[in-house]
């Protein structure tokens, strides 16, 4: 099964805390928004990143990425023959989009998780791929990189 795309349930019961306009000034709103980032939302994300060995948060889907950097992540995983991973489209859900940035303490998308642990964004995955570290990291997950088989054939 190639490039499994999972739809996710909405993280927050309380609704669009990012979209509410405030009577107060911008600083108060941002503090209030952070307080309202409920532990339930973060706990949900924690479950999401741990549910699968390889989890990515991207713009678009593996079949149709909507961002060059997200596409790079998809292509690198494809090159290594990793086709069974969870991909969450942040463009579909602003709560996930903002939530994962807070959860990872990482300001941009795409974001990559291996075994529930944050790996980095596109630049880091690319460097890991170029250095050979990615093959090793996948091996630790019990995933054999397709590149190993290519090397054997050549």
């Amino acid at each position: 099964m190639n490039n499994v795309l999972r739809t996710t349930a909405r993280c927050l019961q309380s609704g669009a805390w990012h979209y509410r306009t405030a009577q107060n000034n911008g600083e108060l709103l941002s503090v209030w928004a952070r307080l309202m980032c409920s532990s339930a939302a973060q706990k949900n994300l924690e479950e999401m990143v741990k549910k699968d060995k390889v989890v990515v948060f991207i713009k678009g889907t593996p079949a149709q990425p909507m961002c060059g950097f997200s596409n790079a992540v998809v292509q690198i995983l494809r090159m290594h023959g990793v086709d069974n991973y969870a991909a969450y489209n942040v463009l579909d859900d602003q709560d996930i989009r903002q939530g994962i940035k807070t959860f990872s303490n990482w300001p941009t998308i795409p974001q990559v998780y291996f075994n529930g642990e944050f790996v980095g964004g596109c630049d880091i995955l690319l460097q890991m791929h170029q250095s050979g570290d990615l093959v090793e990291e996948l091996q630790k997950l019990g995933i054999r990189s397709a590149l190993l088989d290519q090397e054997k054939q050549s």
């Binding site: 909507m66 961002c67 060059g68 950097f69 300001p107 941009t108 944050f118 980095g120």
Partner: protein, 150 residues
């Protein structure tokens, strides 16, 4: 988002810049137009990481945003402070330094963080992948860009 818009308007992110370094990396920008975000990025990275080599490149013209935007950047930082740090730790250092910009006007930041030894053995600037129009499908971009330019 209201908080995002208000943060972008604060004076700290709007200092005017007269620097013309690396103009060849910005073929679509008028050299005399102020580049406050680029200047701030350069200043902050210099102060925080004391780099031996620093390149700050505005790649906004490669993306689906209006001309003159300062929303997408690539930075190359060569600093001895990266010695002994993992890639993730290095990138987090850079992110932390630019936290304000990344939470407001800067939508994308590509990072290369090298030690001086790594840089001398491979002095090459990576290239960003072609845009796939993500910003066109992003309904929060218009707000961010308007806020960044005001």
């Amino acid at each position: 988002m209201l908080s995002t818009a208000l943060r972008c308007l604060r004076p700290s992110s709007c200092t005017l810049a007269l620097s013309r370094q690396l103009a060849h990396h910005r073929p679509h920008m008028d050299p005399s137009s102020p580049r406050p975000v680029e200047t701030t990025i350069r200043t902050k990275l210099t102060q925080a990481l004391a780099p031996e080599h620093l390149e700050v490149i505005n790649e906004s013209h490669m993306h689906a945003v209006p001309p003159g935007s300062e929303s997408h950047f690539r930075v190359l930082v060569v600093s001895p402070q990266f010695e002994g740090l993992s890639l993730l730790q290095r990138h987090r250092l850079v992110n932390e330094t630019l936290r304000e910009e990344l939470s407001t006007c800067v939508h994308a930041l590509a990072i290369q963080a090298k030690t001086p030894q790594q840089w001398s053995s491979n002095p090459s600037l990576a290239k960003s992948p072609p845009c796939m129009g993500g910003s066109k499908h992003d309904n929060t971009m218009t707000e961010k860009l308007k806020a960044g330019r005001d």
